[in-house]
Symmetry: D2
Subunit: 351 residues, 4 copies
C-alpha cells in the first residue's frame, strides 16, 4: 500500500515517516512539504534514514494520484480542507491530522475555527458529515469503512479514552467535568514561535486558553454523542517543559457514590480488554509521562474520593504518537484491513 | 536582631541564609546542621558568601541562647517538635517551617503525620494551640504578637492566598473545590531520593498522593476556619521538571453565578491592596511560574465560566521563597516590628 | 543620568531594563523597539515592573537627544552601525552590545561579518578605531574616557578573562590554545528560530560553527593585542539545554612546565584582586554554571597537568549578565564616573 | 540462549531487560538485584513488561547455573570481581559492564580503582589477562572467542571509536590529544546521590574529575595498545542537564598537516564500512546527541584546522545504549554466533 504524507517535515510528519519507513505493510510514496521542496529527505534528516531516499515535493494532486492510494495530511487547520475534497473525490483515502473534519457540522467548525474560516471559504458540508472521528479503541467499525478519517487532537485523545466508558454507561454526571491537562512543548509544533523557545518555555509552567481552547468543543462533541446528553465541561491546558508527553487529570462526579475505585478500574479493564495499548493501572499506581514516551500507549489510573463521590482519572500519552501520528497509523492500519496496532509495538527506553 | 537558622544546609535553610546574609535588620548568629557540623559555610557554599563566615554547628540550646533572639527551624517534620518547646520556654521566638505547629489540634497532627507521631512522642498540645499560622497577608496581627509561628507548606500557600478572600465572604461554595497543583522538584528537598534524580524526574510529569496528600487537611483546616464551615476538598499534586516554581489551578463553584471575572478580580485587588507582593493580573492574562522565580511574589489570575458558574483561580509562586523561606522572612519581619516585606524586594531575571 | 535602551525587548534589553529600573544612579529615559513600538513596557512585561511606566518607541535620534545622555544599543549586528555614528556625533555616549565596534579595523569586521557588510554599507573607520573594547577588569582606564564602547561577546568574555593574565605575561604558549565552550540557549536571542525551540534544543547537546565561529577572531584580536603576538586558536562552541549560563574549558601549554596549579591560581588572584566579581576558586574546586545564574560574577578554576605541561582553565558566567548586559552596566558605571560594580551586587538563589 | 542479568534494576540493567525481553535470540532467565529481591519485575516496571514475568532474586551461583548460559553483570566496580571467576569457572560466559576486567593488568586496576581495591581483595590476574575489551567495531574476532568480555565505559566508547582508526595508522600525533566530553546525568547511575538530583543538576553545567578521572587511563591503555606507543592524554568530563546522551569533542594534531577533512572522513568511512551503526557525517555536518537517543548508533564528524594542523573529532552516543547496554548486547550477539547488531536496529524518535 502506497502512502503519501503531506506536511512531512513538521513534528507530525516526521513521526509518520519514522513509523512507516520500516513498516512492511506500507510504502512511503510521496513526501509533501512546501518549504523544503526539492530537498532529499535523508539530507534534511540524516538520523531518520529512508532506505529509498525520497525528494520532498510541493503538493500536487497529479503526483499523489500517480504514486499513492492513501494520503495522510499533517497540515495547518484550514489548509487541509483545500485539498481533502479533491483527494477523496479522486479515490484517495484521506487520514487528516488537522481539525478540519473533526466536527460533523461544518458550521460548528466555522464557529470554533473562525479565524481559519475567514481565510478558507469552505463548503464541504457533506464531507464533514461523512468523516469519521478516528479513535480506534472506540469506533473501529466506522473507521474501517471510511474514506476520510479525522484524527483527534492530542488533548481530546488524552481525555476521551478515559472518559468514554464512563459517559457511555452514564456513570459520571454530565455536569461538572473538569479536565486539567499538561502538555509537552512539541504539541505547539515545529514552526518557530517565541513562546515555544527553550528560553521562554524552559524552567516554567503556564496555563493558556482558559475556557476558550478549541479542543473544549471537540471533547464536548464526542462526549455528547457518546452519552446522548449535552455535555459542557471545563478544560484547562498547561504548557510544561518536557519535549514529548501529555498528562491529563480529570475530575467528575459519580452518579452512584457507592462505586469504588476498583469498580471503576474493572469497567476500564473490560471496555479496553482488546486494546493492549490501553494500560489500566492498579488502583493507587500513578503513571509518569516518561512511561509512554516514544510509544503508542495510554496509561490510565482511576481513583474515587469517598468523601465527595468524585472520580479522578489520570491519563498519559506521547502527544506526538498516541496523540497524533501513532493514532493516525492505527487508523491507517484499519482502513487497510490490518489490525489497528500493526507496527506500533515500539520499544521505548527508560529513563 | 540575631537569628539562628537550624537546618541551614537544606534548600529552605540555604534560602534563609541567602536572604539574611545581606539584610541590615538581622544578623546570622547560628547555623545548625548535623551532617555538615564543623564545616565553614563559605567552604560548602562558595557561591553564597557570608561576610563573617560562620561554622556550621550541631544544634545546642545553650549555643542558641547565647547567640540569638529568634530561631528559624528548617527541619524534617517531627524533629522540630523536639526542640521548639525548650526554645520558646527559654525566650527564643520560633519560626517553624515544618508541619509540627500548623494544626491547632495536636491530635489532628498525630492523625495526619502518623508515621512521625510513632517516632516522636509529642505532648505539646498547648504550644500547638498557641502557634499562629504564618500567612502574613491574612493574619498579620496575630503573627506580630506571637512567639511561635508555623509557616504554611508551599502547596497550601499557593492555594490559600487565592481562596481565602472568596471563602471569607462566602462567595465560593464550600463543596466541590478542586486544587490541581504542579510543583518543581526542589519542593522534595535536598536529601537524595531516587524519584528526585534528574534522570527520573526530568522529561516527565506525574501525579502523586491523590486524595491523601497531607497538605489536603492543612488547607481544609484553614479554609474551614476562615469560612466557619466544614470544608472538604480535593487536592492533586503533580511533579514537573523545573527546579523552582509552583503553579496551582483551582476550581470552585460560585454561589452567585452572576458574578463576573472582573468582579472577582476587584475582590482580590481590594483584599490584597496593602500587599504589593500579591499581584492580581488583568482578566485574561495568565502567569508563568518563570515570572516569580527568585522572588517572594504570588501572581493570581481569575476567570469565570459563565456556562457552569465555575470560578478558576490560577496562582504561581517560587516554592522555596513565597512557599517557604521568603514567607518565613515576612514572619520574621513582623515579629521584629518591621514591615512584612523588608528585604524581600528581590530583583529577578527573565528568562 | 538618563539612559536610552535601544532594542529593549530582546534578552539583552530586558536584562538592561531590569538592572536599571531600580538603580538610583540612572534613569531609564527611552526604550526603543520596533516590533513593540506603542506598547507600554509594563503591559508586555508585568513581571518586570517599571515604576514610571514607559512606552516603547521606534528609534529616533531626536527623541534620544531630548531624553538621554547615554544610549545602550542591543541591536543585531550591522544595524547598530546605522545609528551609532549619529548618536556619538550628537554627544550621546554609546555602549554597543553588537559586534559592530569590536574590531579596531572595519575591514576586518567586513571580512568576518561579510553577510552584514553586504547589507550595511559602512565607512565609519575612525569610530572603529576610537571604540574601546569593554572588559572593565582589563581596560578600565580606556573605558572611563571613551564615548563609544564595544561590549564583548559572551564567548569572548568567558575566554578572555581567564586567559588575559597568562597571555599578558607570556606564561601560556601562543600556539595551541583550545577553547571548548558550552552555552545556554538564551545566547541565541529571543527571535524565534527553529533550532532554539524547546523541542529542538531540549534533551540534546550539539556543536556548531567549528573553526569558523565569528567569535574566534574576536578572541584572537584581543589576545594578540595583549601578548604582542599573532595568536591563532581553536574555538568550539556547543549549545546545551540550560536557559542561562556559559561554561568554557580552555586548554593551553605552559612555557614553563614547572609551574603548579597553585602558582597559576595566585597569578589570577593578584591580577583580579580589585575585582570582587572575578572569583578564583581554590585548586581542585570546579564551578557550576548554576553558581553564577542571575549574577555578574565570573568563576575561574585553574589546574595543571604535570605529565604534559598543559594548563586547563575553567570559567563560568551568566551569558546574559557578565556575558552581555551586566558587563554593559559595568561600562555604563565607568563612563559615568562610578565604580564598575555599582548596582551589580545581585542576590542570586540556589538551586 | 538463556541470559542472566545481575544488577537488573540499575539503569544498565533496565536497558538490558528492555533490549532482551522481545529479542527472539535470547531468553531472560534470571534477574538479579539485592534491594528488590522478591519483587516481580512487572510490578516494579509496569512500563517495561516482560511477557513471562520474572521475580527478582538475590545473586546465587546455583540459580544461574540452573537457568542460564550467559551472565551479563551490571554491578558496581569491584563487586563484579567477587562473582565473575566462579561464573566463568563453572562454564558461564560473562559480559561485565564494570571496570573490573577492562585492564589487562590487575595491578593497574588496583592503582586506578584503589578505593575498590581496599574493599575487594582480588587475585584474578589471569582472568584480567584473558578478558577481552568489548568494542565490537574494533576487535570482533577476539570477542567471538572469549568467555569473559569487559564492556568499555561510556566515555571511552565515545572517544575510542573516533580515535582508533587514526591512532592505528599513526595519523594523529601521540602527544597532545584532548578529549572534552559532556555526559547526560543518567551516566551517574540510579543510586540516589545529591549531585544527581534534578534540583542540583538541572539548569547547570559543571566539570569534574579533571586530570584524574579513571576513564583517562582506560582510554590511554587502549590507544597505547592500538598505536604501539605510550599515549598520555587529557580527558575532561562535564555533566550537562540531559537524561540520556554523551558528546565528545576531541582535539589532536595531524602528523601530516596536508590532510584534509575529507581525507579523514574517507578514512573513517573505510574503517567502519561494515558497521552501519557507526555513522560518519559529511564534513561540515555536526550531530546532536538527540539523534542517537534510544539507539545503538554513534555519529562521528571530523574537521581539520588548516591553520594549525589540528584535527577535531565530534562523536555522540546514547550513554546507556552504545555507551553501556547496547554495546553489551553487541558482545552478547558475537559470543552467541550472531551478527553484532541483531536486535539493535531500534526505532528512535525525534524530537
Amino acid at each position: 500500500m502506497n502512502v503519501a504524507i503531506v506536511g512531512a517535515t513538521g513534528y507530525g510528519g516526521i513521526q509518520l515517516v519514522n513509523l512507516l519507513r520500516r513498516n512492511r505493510n506500507f510504502k512511503l510514496s510521496f513526501l509533501g512539504g512546501n518549504k523544503s521542496a526539492g530537498s532529499k529527505w535523508n539530507d534534511l534528516f540524516p538520523f531518520i534514514n529512508i532506505e529509498n531516499d525520497l525528494t520532498i515535493e510541493k503538493y500536487s494532486l497529479q503526483r499523489i494520484l500517480e504514486s499513492s492510494e492513501i494520503a495522510i495530511l499533517s497540515l495547518p487547520n484550514g489548509l487541509s480542507s483545500t485539498i481533502t475534497p479533491e483527494l477523496v473525490n479522486n479515490g484517495i483515502k484521506v487520514i487528516d491530522l488537522s481539525a478540519d473534519y473533526r466536527y460533523k457540522s461544518l458550521d460548528k467548525w466555522k464557529e470554533i475555527y473562525y479565524k481559519e474560516a475567514e481565510i478558507y471559504n469552505r463548503n464541504d458540508y457533506e464531507l464533514c458529515l461523512e468523516s469519521v472521528y478516528g479513535i480506534p479503541e472506540f469506533n473501529q467499525k466506522e473507521i474501517k469503512k471510511s474514506r476520510i478519517i479525522a484524527c483527534p487532537g492530542c488533548y481530546p485523545t488524552s481525555a476521551l479514552i478515559p472518559l468514554i466508558p464512563f459517559m457511555l454507561q452514564g456513570i459520571i454526571e454530565s455536569e461538572g467535568i473538569i479536565i486539567d491537562s499538561k502538555s509537552g512543548i512539541s504539541g505547539g509544533g515545529r514552526t518557530a514561535k517565541e513562546h515555544l523557545l527553550y528560553s521562554e518555555a524552559g524552567e516554567g509552567i503556564s496555563a493558556y486558553g482558559l475556557l476558550t481552547h478549541r479542543h473544549t468543543s471537540e471533547i464536548e462533541q464526542i462526549l455528547s454523542h457518546v452519552s446522548g446528553l449535552n455535555i459542557q465541561l471545563i478544560f484547562t491546558p498547561h504548557l510544561i517543559p518536557i519535549v514529548r508527553g501529555m498528562f491529563s487529570t480529570i475530575y467528575g462526579r459519580l452518579k452512584d457514590p457507592g462505586l469504588t475505585a476498583d469498580d471503576c478500574k474493572i469497567l476500564l479493564d473490560n471496555f479496553y480488554r482488546n486494546y493492549e495499548n490501553v494500560k489500566v493501572l492498579p488502583v493507587g499506581t500513578y503513571p509518569s509521562s516518561k512511561w509512554v514516551k516514544n510509544s503508542n500507549d495510554i496509561y490510565i489510573s482511576v481513583n474515587v474520593d469517598n468523601r465527595s463521590g468524585k472520580i479522578i482519572l489520570l491519563s498519559t500519552i506521547d502527544n506526538l504518537l498516541k496523540g497524533q501520528a501513532g493514532q493516525a497509523v492505527q487508523n491507517l492500519n484499519l482502513i487497510s484491513g490490518l489490525k489497528h496496532n500493526e507496527g506500533l509495538d515500539l520499544t521505548t527506553f527508560y529513563p
